[in-house]
């Protein structure tokens, strides 16, 4: 059951069993194959992902070719930024091996993010926690490069 898998996710550790069930009910769990492109840079976003099993590589095209920015493991949410700022995907996300993800379609994301229910408050906080972690990671990379570390 997806709600039991989400229960082990640090992002959702303050969700009640009932709230996890509601969140899982809005998500679709599926297997992914090695090399499967889950998110393509510059695409319009249509869903949010949570890694359930396996690993997902995040990369961007640059003047020097593809650049791997991060490798996400179970419990990570990805595909957030474009859903939040209504822009295009900033990076490409590819399954590094066989695994499993949970997907939250954009309509459900918008409904959940903009609702006033207690579940929405916790979902918003989970998003903030994931973004905080991502920003810290990317800031480290950015500063290491600009400071020549």
């Amino acid at each position: 059951m997806l709600d039991q898998l989400l229960e082990n996710d640090w992002l959702f550790d303050d969700f009640s069993a009932r709230e996890l069930e509601q969140l899982a009910g809005a998500m679709v769990e599926r297997h992914v194959y090695s090399g499967e492109v889950l998110v393509l840079e510059e695409e319009r976003p249509d869903r949010l992902f949570v890694v359930i099993e396996g690993a997902v590589e995040v990369s961007r095209q640059s003047d020097q070719g593809d650049r791997v920015l991060a490798v996400l493991g179970p419990g990570s949410m990805f595909g957030l930024v474009a859903l939040l700022d209504r822009g295009r995907r900033a990076a490409t996300c590819v399954a590094r091996g066989p695994g499993k993800v949970a997907e939250l379609p954009r309509d459900s994301f918008d409904l959940l993010y903009q609702s006033n229910a207690p579940l929405a408050d916790k979902f918003q906080y989970a998003i903030a926690r994931q973004l905080a972690r991502d920003v810290k990671q990317m800031t480290r990379v950015l500063l290491a490069e600009t400071l020549g570390q």
Partner: protein, 180 residues
């Protein structure tokens, strides 16, 4: 120092959303005044229990240090904030923050934010949406700078450090901003 809701809303529109004075009051109540002098260290990089700093008056300077170098990242003016991540994920302060001029800020701790979420969820939700919007921009900017594509690199490089310190960098900054 009582914080005027109208002035706070003008300085930090993203954090206030459409909150009226009554809904904004619980947020202003948990913010603690933090006057600062020129050159005073307000926040220490790596220190625990970091507090988010919201600038009301004057300017603060952000610096980051490695074992080899100290770099000035920029100068924050009124209406900007820094070290907000520990409000969401308690941990270490990202940067050193110094008074660039004398001025005044308000600060918020993780505990303050938890209390706001518990006691005034509607207000906390608007406030957090503002922080999320800023984090989202910052993440996109970081990704674009770390891995620039030709058509956007110049524009985004200038914007990328906007979340750190606006667009003006001190002349002695060692961050090669033009080259990013």
């Amino acid at each position: 120092m009582a914080i005027d809701p109208g002035r706070f809303r003008t300085l930090f529109p993203k954090l206030c959303g459409g909150l009226n004075d009554a809904a904004l009051a619980p947020l202003l109540d948990v913010l603690r005044p933090r006057p600062f002098a020129e050159g005073e260290q307000i926040c220490k990089q790596g220190a625990h229990s970091a507090r988010a700093i919201f600038i009301l008056r004057g300017e603060v300077e952000l610096r980051v240090s490695t074992p080899e170098v100290t770099a000035t990242l920029g100068v924050l003016q009124p209406g900007r904030w820094t070290n907000a991540i520990p409000l969401i994920e308690p941990g270490q302060a990202e940067f050193d923050v110094f008074g660039h001029t004398a001025g005044a800020a308000v600060e918020m701790t993780y505990g303050d934010f938890l209390a706001l979420r518990r006691d005034h969820p509607a207000t906390a939700r608007v406030f957090l949406a503002g922080l999320i919007s800023d984090l989202s921009f910052r993440l996109r900017a970081c990704e674009l700078v770390v891995s620039p594509s030709a058509p956007t690199s110049s524009h985004t490089a200038r914007r990328a450090f906007g979340w750190l310190g606006g667009t003006t960098l001190p002349p002695n900054s060692i961050v090669p901003i033009e080259e990013i």
